[in-house]
C-alpha cells in the first residue's frame, strides 16, 4: 500500500515536470511549427547558470530567477538568430537544426561547466513528509514542484486567454499572415513565444535538478519523455501536454517499480502507439485539426 502510494507520488512529481516540459514544446510547436529538440540542453544551460550563481554564494531564489531570465533571453536569441531562417521551410530541416543545437549546447556546456556530476540545491526540504507516523514520498520540494507547474500553467492560461498580448501570440501562431494584416508584429510574437517556452523549459530543468544531481546530459531523458507526452496529448493542445505529461509520469513510475526499469521506454512506446493508433493526432487533437 505504502509502495503503491509512494510510486504514485513519485510518478506525479515526475509527471508534473514532464508536463511542464511538454508544455514548452507545445508552445513552440504552436507558434512556429518546430519541434524543439534543443529544449532540454537549453534548460540544462540555464540550470548551470543558476548553479554558477549559487556557487558564488548567492541565494537559491536569485539563482532561480536568473535561470528563468536567462531562459527567456536564450529562447529569444535562438529563435531570432538560428531558427528564424528555417521557419515555414521543410519540417525536417527544423528538426535537424534543433538536433544540431542540441549537440552544440551539450558540447559547450561540457567545455564551459565541466562534464561531471554536481549537486543542485533545493529551496525546500528533500525529506518526505510524515503523515500519521508514516513518511510519504512527497517532499517540500515535491510540493513546490507541483505548485510551481500548476501556477505556471495558470499564468500561461491567463496570459493567452485574458490579455491582448496573449491574443496576439495565439493569432500569430494560428495564422501569421492574417495576424500581420491585423497589425500584429508576428515576428516579435514568435520570438516571445520561444522565449516563454524556454522559460517554462528552464523551470522544468530547475525542478528536475532541485535536490538532485546535474551534469550536461541530465535532461536527455526528459526530452524524450517530454516529447512523447506532448505527442500523446496532441501537439497543438497545451492542456493535452499537461495531461500527457502526468499520464506518462505515473505510468512510467509504475512500470519501473512493478515490471522493470528496463522497460520504461518500451512502456512509453506502447502507450504512445495505443493512443496514436486510436487518435493519430493525440488525445486532445482538435476536431478541426489542421492538415500540415
Amino acid at each position: 500500500m505504502q509502495q503503491l502510494l509512494n510510486t504514485a507520488l513519485g510518478g506525479l512529481t515526475l509527471g508534473m515536470v514532464y508536463a511542464a516540459f511538454a508544455l514548452a514544446l507545445v508552445l513552440i510547436w504552436r507558434s512556429t511549427r518546430v519541434v524543439n529538440f534543443a529544449q532540454a540542453p537549453m534548460a540544462m544551460v540555464t540550470t548551470f547558470v543558476a548553479l554558477v550563481i549559487v556557487d558564488a554564494g548567492h541565494s537559491y531564489w536569485l539563482a532561480f530567477a536568473a535561470a528563468l531570465a536567462s531562459g527567456l533571453v536564450l529562447g529569444a536569441v535562438i529563435e531570432r538568430v538560428v531558427v528564424r531562417p528555417v521557419e515555414g521551410g521543410p519540417e525536417i530541416n527544423a528538426v535537424i537544426l534543433t538536433l544540431g543545437l542540441f549537440i552544440v549546447l551539450h558540447a559547450l556546456a561540457a567545455v564551459i561547466f565541466g562534464n561531471r556530476y554536481r549537486s543542485f540545491p533545493a529551496p525546500f526540504g528533500v525529506r518526505g513528509i510524515e503523515v500519521g507516523g508514516t513518511t510519504i514520498a512527497l517532499t517540500g520540494f515535491g510540493i513546490f514542484t507541483i505548485l510551481a507547474v500548476l501556477v505556471t500553467m495558470g499564468l500561461l492560461l491567463l496570459l493567452f486567454q485574458r490579455t491582448d498580448i496573449g491574443l496576439r501570440m495565439r493569432a500569430s501562431a494560428f495564422n501569421p499572415e492574417v495576424a500581420r494584416l491585423l497589425g500584429v508584429r508576428v515576428g516579435r510574437m514568435l520570438t516571445l513565444g520561444w522565449a516563454l517556452a524556454s522559460v517554462v523549459g528552464s523551470l522544468a530543468g530547475l525542478l528536475i535538478a532541485g535536490g538532485s544531481l546535474v551534469h550536461p546530459g541530465y535532461m536527455d531523458s526528459v526530452v524524450v519523455y517530454g516529447f512523447v507526452a506532448a505527442v500523446l496529448g496532441g501537439l497543438d493542445s497545451p492542456f493535452g501536454a499537461v495531461v500527457g505529461g502526468l499520464l506518462l509520469g505515473l505510468a512510467l513510475s509504475f512500470v519501473s517499480g512493478y515490471v522493470g526499469s528496463q522497460l520504461v521506454a518500451l512502456a512509453a512506446l506502447v502507450i504512445l502507439m495505443l493512443v496514436l493508433v486510436l487518435r493519430p493526432g493525440g488525445l486532445f487533437a482538435q476536431t478541426a485539426a489542421r492538415r500540415v
Binding site: D164, R170, R180, L182
Partner: protein, 237 residues
C-alpha cells in the same frame, strides 16, 4: 471626389512570373472601387502588394498623402488601411469575439466596448455566437466576421478580397447590402476585388479591369457594366 488611394505604375511578381505590370489607378474617398478580372489577372496580388504582404518591384502606393509602398503590413491598420483577405481570413481556432478583439489591436488609440457593440449591431448573427469558436461559423458568417473584424480597427480604407467567394447568392446580396450601408454611413473608401463582376459593379461607383497584370479598363461602374464588348472579353457576364 478627392483620391484616397493612389496606385502608380505598380509592378510585382513571383520569381520570373509577372503578376502586376505597371498598374495605375485611384480609389476615391467614400466610394467603392471594384477591381475586376479573370482568375490570375493579378487582383489578389494587387491587394497583397498594396497592404505590404507582397513586395513591389516598382511603382508607388499612396494613401491619403502617405507613401505605403515601403511600409510593413503590420503597420497598415494604424494608418487606417484594413485588408480583408479572401475566405480564409477567419482565425478558426479563436472565438468570434477574440477575432473581433484582434481587429482592434492594430490600430492607434484605446479600444473600448463600443467598437464591439457597433459591430455586433451591424452583424447581429455574430453577437449571438460571440463565445463560439469561429470554425463552427458558416461561410456567410465568416465573411461577416472578417468584415466586422476589419471595422474594429476603424479604418478609413477597406481592401476586400473576393467577399462573395463560395457564398450563396442570397448571402452575397446580404453582404453587399451591408457594405453599401457602411460606405454611406461611415464614408469608407473601399477597394473591392471580385470575380463576380456583376454583383461587384452593382454596388461599386467605379471599376478597374485587370488582365494579365495590366489595367485594361478604368471607368464608372455603370459605363463598364454597359460595355458589352468588355463584359464579354473580361468580365464573363
Amino acid at each position: 471626389m478627392p483620391a484616397m488611394l493612389t496606385v502608380t505604375d505598380l509592378a510585382a511578381g513571383y520569381g520570373p512570373v509577372r503578376a502586376l505590370d505597371g498598374v495605375s489607378f485611384t480609389a476615391e474617398r467614400g466610394r467603392v472601387t471594384a477591381v475586376l478580372g479573370a482568375n490570375g489577372a493579378g487582383k489578389t496580388t494587387l491587394l497583397r502588394t498594396i497592404s505590404g504582404l507582397h513586395r513591389a518591384e516598382r511603382g508607388s502606393v499612396d494613401l491619403d498623402g502617405q507613401r505605403l509602398d515601403r511600409v510593413a503590413a503590420e503597420r497598415m491598420p494604424a494608418l487606417g488601411l484594413a485588408h480583408v483577405p479572401e475566405g480564409r481570413g477567419v482565425i478558426t481556432e479563436l472565438t468570434v469575439e477574440e477575432n473581433l478583439r484582434l481587429g482592434a489591436l492594430g490600430r492607434a488609440g484605446k479600444v473600448d466596448g463600443s467598437d464591439l457593440e457597433r459591430v455586433y449591431g451591424l452583424f447581429p448573427v455574430l453577437a449571438d455566437r460571440r463565445a463560439a469558436t469561429a470554425h463552427v461559423l458558416s461561410g456567410g458568417e465568416r465573411q461577416m466576421l472578417v468584415v466586422g473584424r476589419a471595422l474594429m480597427a476603424r479604418p478609413t480604407t477597406l481592401l476586400l478580397d473576393e467577399p462573395s467567394l463560395g457564398l450563396a447568392p442570397r448571402i452575397v446580396a446580404q453582404i453587399f447590402e451591408l457594405l453599401r450601408g457602411l460606405v454611406e454611413s461611415e464614408s469608407l473608401t473601399v477597394l473591392l476585388v471580385e470575380q463576380n463582376a456583376r454583383s461587384a459593379l452593382s454596388i461599386a461607383h467605379r471599376g478597374v479591369v485587370l488582365n494579365l497584370g495590366r489595367v485594361v479598363a478604368d471607368d464608372d461602374a455603370d459605363a463598364l457594366a454597359a460595355d458589352d464588348q468588355l463584359r464579354h472579353a473580361y468580365l464573363g457576364f
